[in-house]
């Protein structure tokens, strides 16, 4: 399989669907996933037989992996440890986590997933899409309202929970595949590697900092050497590379001269993340693990409805406590409904651990992310109208009761 042919197919089809999504004013994440699904579907039906060639899948997945690593690196870099400590934010973040995680976990068990799979599903249900949420706040001119701040900090809180969930999940999976006793060992290994990175970058600050100020190819090379070097080290120690990337990013946010390179890193992230979504779509199968279509759709619908209600419920609680207004809370709920990149990343990392997770869970999450990134951006866009309509409904109910 020709390498350039692979790149050509992936980038052109992503560009086409990406443009369509922008033209329709929709979130672009599902577009790239759908590009992958369509590609796989058409090549199977039309007999291109490109998928069956291992090279193709390997190239696309390899490039996609760079995308996840760069995304987590970026999230780690932007992460703000100081701001999260304020008491109101901590309350909001934990409410968001408990309500939505428990909802997802219970439904997972209900549809017959294992404990671990339900845990994965719950994580995917909990985490909103920062990308969609933040762009819809800006596009819909919500930044002047106090709840915008609450929503943005919820996203930050979700980032740290994501890092913790990833540490826990990958430790359970890599250690647990050997024996239960190995879980604490692999957890300790992960934590040690994190501390090592943080200390090393701080120690080497005087050496690294001037290198980033150079005008040649050294700075960008240094970034990727750090990212890939530590990823390789993580791989050797069977620690998840995305966690390493997250903490490397946050360690480098302490190196001032790195700021100059952030723009370049973001460009690489955007490119490779697109390929990642494509590769993710390529893994989707229409078989649903032997489940009849109707049952699959029912499970999906239940999941979608529960996720939307979950965010509205946690939003209402947060709004009541933080802003003293139910309507503001419902708007918080509406803005945080979109799910996207993180739910997918989480699943991809889990798949990367090569521990059998059921096809049901996989297909479910793919279909779920596509639906909720579209439905979610719609709800976020019309957040104030929906909030208002819900308030009118609630007020009517209250008067009826009296």
């Amino acid at each position: 399989m020709d390498f350039l042919l692979v790149l050509g197919i992936v980038t052109v089809s992503c560009l086409a669907l990406g443009l369509i999504s922008k033209y329709l004013r929709q979130a672009s994440i599902p577009a790239y996933i759908i590009a992958g699904i369509l590609f796989k579907y058409s090549s199977e039906r039309l007999g291109f037989d490109l998928i069956s060639s291992d090279d193709f899948t390997q190239v696309v997945q390899g490039l996609g992996k760079i995308g996840i690593i760069l995304l987590m690196f970026y999230i780690g870099h932007e992460f703000n440890f100081r701001g999260i400590k304020e008491p109101g934010r901590f309350f909001a973040g934990s409410t968001d986590f408990f309500v939505n995680f428990i909802a997802g976990f219970s439904l997972g068990l209900l549809i017959g997933l294992s404990l671990l799979e339900a845990f994965i599903l719950a994580s995917a249900v909990y985490i909103s899409s920062s990308a969609i949420v933040i762009s819809s706040l800006i596009e819909n001119k919500r930044l002047i309202y106090p709840e915008a701040e609450t929503v943005v900090w919820l996203m930050v809180f979700e980032d740290i929970i994501l890092a913790i969930l990833l540490v826990v999940l990958t430790s359970i999976m890599s250690g647990g595949s050997l024996a239960m006793i190995m879980i604490p060992v692999s957890l300790a290994k992960t934590l040690l590697l994190i501390v090592f990175i943080l200390v090393l970058i701080r120690g080497l600050n005087n050496f690294i900092s001037p290198l980033f100020k150079r005008d040649d190819e050294i700075p960008i090379l240094l970034i990727f050497a750090l990212i890939f070097g530590f990823s390789a080290l993580a791989h050797l120690l069977s620690v998840s590379e995305v966690i390493v990337a997250f903490f490397l990013g946050s360690a480098l946010s302490g190196v001032k001269s790195f700021k100059r390179l952030l723009g370049d890193t973001i460009s690489f992230k955007n490119l490779f993340l697109t390929i990642f979504f494509f590769s993710f779509g390529m893994m989707f199968s229409f078989e649903f693990a032997g489940l009849p279509l109707t049952e699959f759709v029912l499970a999906l619908l239940a999941l979608i409805i529960l996720s939307i209600l979950g965010k509205f419920a946690s939003g209402a609680l947060i709004g009541k406590k933080q802003h003293g207004s139910l309507e503001t809370g419902l708007r918080v709920g509406a803005y945080t409904t979109p799910r996207g990149e993180f739910s997918v990343v989480l699943l991809a990392v889990v798949i990367g651990m090569e521990m059998g997770i059921s096809e049901l869970l996989f297909s479910l999450v793919v279909a779920y992310v596509i639906s909720l990134s579209l439905i979610g951006s719609f709800i976020a866009k019309h957040g104030d109208m929906i909030g208002k309509a819900m308030m009118i409904g609630i007020n009517k109910l209250m008067t009826l009761k009296r």
Binding site: E78, F79, N80, G83, S130, I134, L137, I138, K141, L143, I144, A148, E149, V152, W153, M155, V156
Partner: protein, 160 residues
């Protein structure tokens, strides 16, 4: 004034007037600036996105640093000291003064006007020393009262 950090977006500065109108300025991570105005009781805010250059202009108007720009006249005032206004005038050097130094012309003595800068071939000479010789094509920047500036133009720059 309330300052708050919006991670991944930027920094927000907001102020609420006693009437309940809100104004927010958001410095986006992209370097652009969004200006929000939300009138009390209004459904939706008005928003505009400015480049940093545009924002600087709006800013200097709001602080009162720049009051009027009338051809070559600039009146500068300061929000701190509201009754202090300074007239700045820009005039081209005429052939009658080319080759003479500021000291020779005794501009300050005769008219009370002070030369604060000279723009010469794209370079600027700030606070020129008295021995500076004026050249053809120079633009001189002066401060003084309206009457003094008029006098300077009539007596020094014109033949007489």
């Amino acid at each position: 004034m309330r300052i708050s950090e919006l991670p991944e977006i930027g920094t927000k500065y907001e102020i609420e007037s006693p009437k309940g109108d809100k104004v927010a300025v958001i410095f986006l991570a992209t370097g652009e600036i969004e200006l929000y105005v939300l009138e009390a009781g209004a459904e939706k805010p008005s928003v505009t996105r400015l480049t940093s250059e545009e924002a600087r202009r709006v800013g200097s108007v709001l602080t009162g640093a720049l009051l009027t720009i009338e051809r070559e006249d600039v009146e500068v005032s300061f929000s701190e000291i509201s009754d202090l206004r300074i007239n700045i005038h820009i005039c081209p050097v005429t052939k009658y003064v080319v080759g003479k130094s500021i000291e020779d012309l005794a501009i300050r003595k005769k008219t009370g006007v002070t030369i604060i800068a000279i723009s010469r071939k794209g370079r600027s000479i700030i606070s020129p020393p008295p021995e500076t010789v004026l050249e053809e094509g120079d633009m001189i920047v002066v401060i003084g009262e309206h009457e003094q500036i008029k006098a300077c133009e009539r007596q020094i720059l014109q033949p007489g």
